[in-house]
Symmetry: C3
Subunit: 305 residues, 3 copies
């Protein structure tokens, strides 16, 4: 059911397909840690096409191939490629399609991954396009929650920080609503979740402006980075950033089993002291990027059914 | 006869050596496509040294090693290397010679690959030096023609576009003339094939300035990119570029079995609509870079005789 | 005794541990040359984190993994990573720690490697931090001497050139003194060995300003690059650089078995004519970077005991 499939949007996956991915990802964990060796992807080549900088996503796809015995080619910086000579995206994709078995693409423009999927014969995986989709991030985010709680439905999940520009929170909000989570949104007024995203959610989320309103009964805090560049006035940024960051004081008020997630990189949104509390899950979440991507690659390449 | 051989210029290869490369390349096609696995180069390391940007050539060498189980190291951008500290090319080559089994070099200066071959103990493959040679490109171009027609001799082959600065067309023109093709040259006056190249050809080629003169009886159109930077006046560029590009209208006048090639990347020289006609061969040509380079690597490393 | 060990400073290694590394490195030489294949590190992933340009060190770690069947991920240029988004070094390290089995780090700031070792669960190898340590370079330097003379003690070893800023000579001077070499220092006044380094040496080294004073009875000349940027006045640089470089005339006055080493890249410190004399050992020294790093990787990963 997965062989040859493009993963462009989280909407391309039905709930049972997500569960299949999670099931395989669970088996991949010891391989991702290097505790077990299975070269499922020996002889396969992945084209890792990053038209925009990214470390975590790019490196975890690479680690996923490496751990499964596959090879990776591509670029992290389009300026050293013939794209700088004026080549169209369609031609670049066709070239890599001829040199590899699966294409991963990160691009600054929304729709780029869909276009790539249209031109490539091999499966294409969207690793983030513009303010659009980043489905493997959404999958690893949900996987982190499922690994922790066993389910998503009924959990109170607060997405917080920059909900306007933060790419990862858009598809996550929609996906969580369809998995029957109780989604709450917490952001400064200027960085609110776009209305068209809220309209796509299954249920209207509750909207907050103060962390205090949700701190005591949230199960999952999903914190995102507020970028300085979004604010014309630096003092405005400081004020806002401070109000949506998590400190050790906040942690004391949380539920015992509450977890804190973050797509990383973080800047000041989570105090480093929080790292050592039992609530921090962002590093584990980052690690889960590897088994999730291993599972997806093995499935779309058809080596696991 | 190939083990340890440097491939610096297409003139380093006799006709029977070319045929040997093509024979091996044919066997490599299913491996290049990932349909068959043969790790001929397991344990071997290639140094891919790109002192100048290139995607297709660099990536197809990398794909060739990957598919055959080998490893690749090197750089795509000399600014992140100690070349920026003032190291001589000879010393850089000696270093990579100590770390690898075969060196691929692309360099902006003519003669760089020959110098590299002089200093390296391992075989060196020229991946383009200045306005000089790019023998693996020439081989894959000829291979594309041979795969299509079974032979080169007697075919009417029109090289068109920028014949003055276009690196690939120089060695191709010479090689085709020695393979007894009927070579025609079509370019704006300011971008004519240099006289010293014509002198090296076995037979004097016919020279044209209008596509209409050759469109009806050419077997192979070899189109090249006309770079805007070559023209001081942008309107001059627009006029010239337009006259040497191929549209769907042109295709209608072509022979049924005529094929269109291009070393890629292209900008406006071939209308995207032409991609879907049975004449387009440039994407297949780009793919053939992989089996051709697999064959060359396996031969110079001595794993296939 | 090595499994899981961080190699941050040469002081982390006792003399018998160095000897163990040399013993394994000797066995690795045929594998490093590609004459023998042993995939000790198949399935292992190395994170090669270069926050500062380096070719030789980065590439030799990569070649070491490649030759032993392992995989490498990482970066050579932090600008294409999320470090540019303001991520802390600790967070970057944690991410790569989750994606790999061993971390190699080169960083412009002294202490960066120690910090990395504190945050990573997997072993960390310092590939140079600021003006601080570069232990694998020190090991390959000593290995080169031992391979040549069978021992270090009692040899007259002259470190020459830029002893002030040259990172490699600091830890080398200390290590050689503890191995009972007769260390001599030769540099312009403005580029003298720092006093705190001399204080760390087991025995006070002899200090010279003229190559003539040591040329006749030195066993090992260890030449370093004098960087133009260190001098406000270019003529001053020319004068100084010229006085601490080695020409064919100097070579004539050397002992028959004297060897010349250099960490490379060199600029003008050694005349290329010297390369062809039996005294040149700098290219062999560069090659030894591969078996030394293979030995260290195999030991800290616990695949060889």
């Amino acid at each position: 059911m997965f062989k040859g499939k493009d993963i462009v949007s989280i909407r391309d996956l039905r709930e049972e397909e997500m569960e299949k991915i999670f099931e395989i990802a669970r088996d991949m964990i010891p391989i991702a840690k290097g505790e077990k060796r299975e070269e499922y992807l020996r002889g396969y080549v992945l084209a890792n096409l990053f038209f925009e900088p990214s470390t975590r996503t790019r490196m975890s796809f690479e680690a996923a191939m490496d751990r499964l015995g596959g090879k990776v080619l591509g670029f992290s910086n389009p300026s050293a490629t013939s794209i700088s000579k004026g080549e169209t995206l369609a031609d670049t994709i066709r070239m890599f399609d001829a040199y590899s078995d699966v294409i991963v693409i990160r691009h600054p423009l929304e729709g780029a991954a869909r276009l790539a999927a249209d031109f490539a014969e091999h499966p294409v995986i969207n690793a983030g396009d513009g303010a659009g989709q980043h489905p493997t991030q959404t999958l690893l985010d949900i996987f982190t929650i499922v690994q922790e709680f066993g389910h998503v439905d009924g959990l109170k999940i607060t997405l917080m920080g920059d909900l306007r520009y933060g790419r990862t929170v858009h598809s996550l909000a929609i996906a969580l609503s369809y998995l029957d989570a109780d989604v709450h949104l917490l952001s400064p007024r200027t960085l609110k979740m776009p209305k068209h995203i809220i309209r796509e959610m299954k249920r209207e989320p509750e909207i907050h402006e103060r962390l205090e309103d949700v701190i005591e009964d949230t199960d999952v805090f999903y914190v995102t980075r507020i970028q300085k560049e979004r604010f014309p006035d630096p003092t405005e940024y400081m004020k806002v950033a401070g109000s949506y960051s998590i400190t050790k004081e906040h942690v004391k008020k949380m539920k015992d089993r509450a977890i804190i997630m973050h797509p990383l990189p973080r800047v000041n949104e989570i105090d480093p002291e929080v790292d050592y509390t039992p609530h921090a899950r962002y590093f584990k979440q980052a690690f889960y990027g590897v088994p999730i991507r291993m599972a997806i690659l093995a499935l779309v390449l058809g080596v696991i059914e």
